[in-house]
Assembly symmetry: C2
Homo-oligomer: 353 residues x 2
């Protein structure tokens, strides 16, 4: 197959929704999970984008992820929601939780929710953006299967545990901070392993605890957290809040979606939502936020930098561009998509040359 | 003066309280700020401990910090408190806010508060520990005077902005994560500059944007955030939540307590409190947290490590030991304390040889 065929986003979306739908995911939920994966890919976060599509489908088809979860949301306290995802797709569970969270925040000014029995939820940015669209500031933590050690350990225990923050702006893009607490997202190492590429030093240790640049050895060993003990502490925080605190799996109690594991992943998420105008009038909030952004942009630059970008800005710009222009899919992945079309008997020509 | 005189903590406490009291700080508040500085020092965080005592006093005596603030706390929403510190000492303002925050959390399950018109508040750990003692999980962010650049900048804009998290345990110590988002706390560089010591490479750039190990050049230049763009983004997050969002100063709008500035510092803080048993019963929470701690301790260790410590644990152990044994104060600092005693006419022999 050619390497540079451009596929319109709309065509890709229709195909992916259909594939989820044919695998038993209700139409609205198929739309959610498709949108979530596509946005990640368009933003340039390939590790959480289309490469997850075949895995998600497989887990659903094998009955390891529940395509029609009975998500239960109960109010533990006036400002706190307890969410049981019933082993549904992470993005589907999160959107349900967010919807209730928005209503609570409207009344209480703040809402904290904890999610258990969930699965991989893609990029945290997706949820912080949705909250920002509603005028809400947000904090979001999630865990994942064991990948990094605590400081002083050499055994995987914490996930690559993202921590994320959403800060709405009147003028887009919203400010979105979304980072793995490991040096690299595991998805990046998975892709390097798939392509037999090496990874930079500092990303991982092998099983014996020595530094490695071999992606497969890294997957068998342990990923390194950012910034030594500080990053390890942040991983611990995300594991605690999203796993221990919420009632979800934590540490080795979180299963890996790529393994042969027949156990539900029991991933946990924790989110805080706050009205952006909690402490100030809406106009004051907006004005201060725009001043903040423009002050940052206009600071004197370090050698080698032409601009100072706000977190999430370049990803958002890329998303707008790809949405308009369409997307080139990696040939291997395109092959996998074409196979899925054949298996599910979906007539499409978008993966042909 | 001798270098190793051990001063009992009780004696030091009496002296410091008296000094604050004689400078116009009401007795209960003098107790708070003394306790805050002493705990930092006992925990081994000297940058936020006794070295701040002369500076705090000076700012009060010059009228730059209000010794008798009229702290205003209003309920913006059922779960949100807006706090105006009236330029009081950070620790005094925070304890007032915490007290109200505890009451709100009891009812609502969660409380978020934003503080403006505050000052340096010492170690974040102090507040997360108090929340943990009440059985509350916490998130705390604060800003400070410009110290670090955004990613791509070479000009100070964000403070060394701590981010902190408190996770209560049935068995002490509570798990407390408390970190500057800069590689080093500015206090460490201040102390190095005072002693004409060098600082490690990677901590700071000089005014021209080049790496430096000269502590004074670092103070004139810019401190580096942890982990490149990720740390810079975390600094931005703390600046946003504690400054922009709350209505406090942000960026260059936060004044430095060491400068000749006659402006109030207008430091901001932001905190979220949550009931530890928000999502689970108290006994389930306790059991899971103890399992989490013991699993982490028992993971296989990296070469060179004899134990795996939980964040905040060694600081807490040090605090218990120093509290029992007393403290040796750096001779320079001891001289400053002795001078303060003379100036304020406090009769004490604890600083003599």
């Amino acid at each position: 197959m050619g390497n540079s065929k451009v596929i319109p986003i709309g065509d890709l979306e229709v195909f992916m929704r259909r594939a989820f739908s044919l695998s038993g995911v209700p139409e609205l939920n198929a739309q959610t999970v498709t949108d979530n994966l596509l946005k990640a890919e368009m933003k340039g976060i390939g590790s959480h984008g289309l490469s997850r599509f075949p895995v998600y489908l497989q887990r659903i088809q094998k009955g390891l992820v529940n395509p029609k979860p009975q998500i239960s949301i109960t109010k533990a306290f006036p400002g706190v929601l307890t969410v049981d995802g019933d082993n549904g797709l992470g993005s589907v569970v999160m959107l349900e939780a967010l919807k209730e969270g928005f209503a609570v925040t409207e009344e209480i000014g703040v809402c904290a929710f904890g999610v258990k029995h969930s699965n991989h939820f893609g990029i945290s940015t997706y949820y912080c953006e949705q909250a920002a669209e509603k005028g809400l500031v947000s904090i979001l933590l999630s865990n994942g299967p064991p990948a990094t050690p605590p400081f002083g350990g050499k055994e995987p225990y914490f996930g690559t545990n993202p921590i994320a923050f959403g800060m709405p702006r009147k003028n887009k893009p919203h400010i979105i901070v979304d980072m793995a607490t490991s040096v690299a997202a595991r998805g990046k190492i998975i892709r390097a392993a798939q392509k037999s590429e090496t990874i930079p030093e500092g990303w991982a240790l092998n099983q014996e605890g020595y530094p490695t640049t071999d992606a497969k050895a890294a997957l068998a060993g342990v990923l390194l957290p950012i910034a030594g003990p500080k990053g390890a502490a942040l991983s611990l925080v995300a594991e605690f809040f999203s796993g221990v605190f919420t009632g979800a799996g934590y540490g080795k109690g979180v299963a890996w979606q790529y393994s042969g594991s027949e156990e539900p992943a029991n991933v946990g998420h924790f989110m805080v939502l706050l009205k952006a105008d909690s402490f100030l009038s809406e106009s004051e909030y907006e004005e201060r936020t725009e001043t903040f952004v423009s002050e940052i942009r206009n600071l004197s630059r370090a050698p080698g930098f032409e601009t100072i970008n706000l977190p999430g800005e370049r990803e958002w710009e890329r998303e707008q561009a790809i949405f308009a222009q369409g997307m080139v899919i990696d040939p291997d992945l395109r092959g996998q998509f074409a196979e899925i079309a054949v298996k599910l008997n979906i007539e499409t020509e978008i993966f042909n040359d």
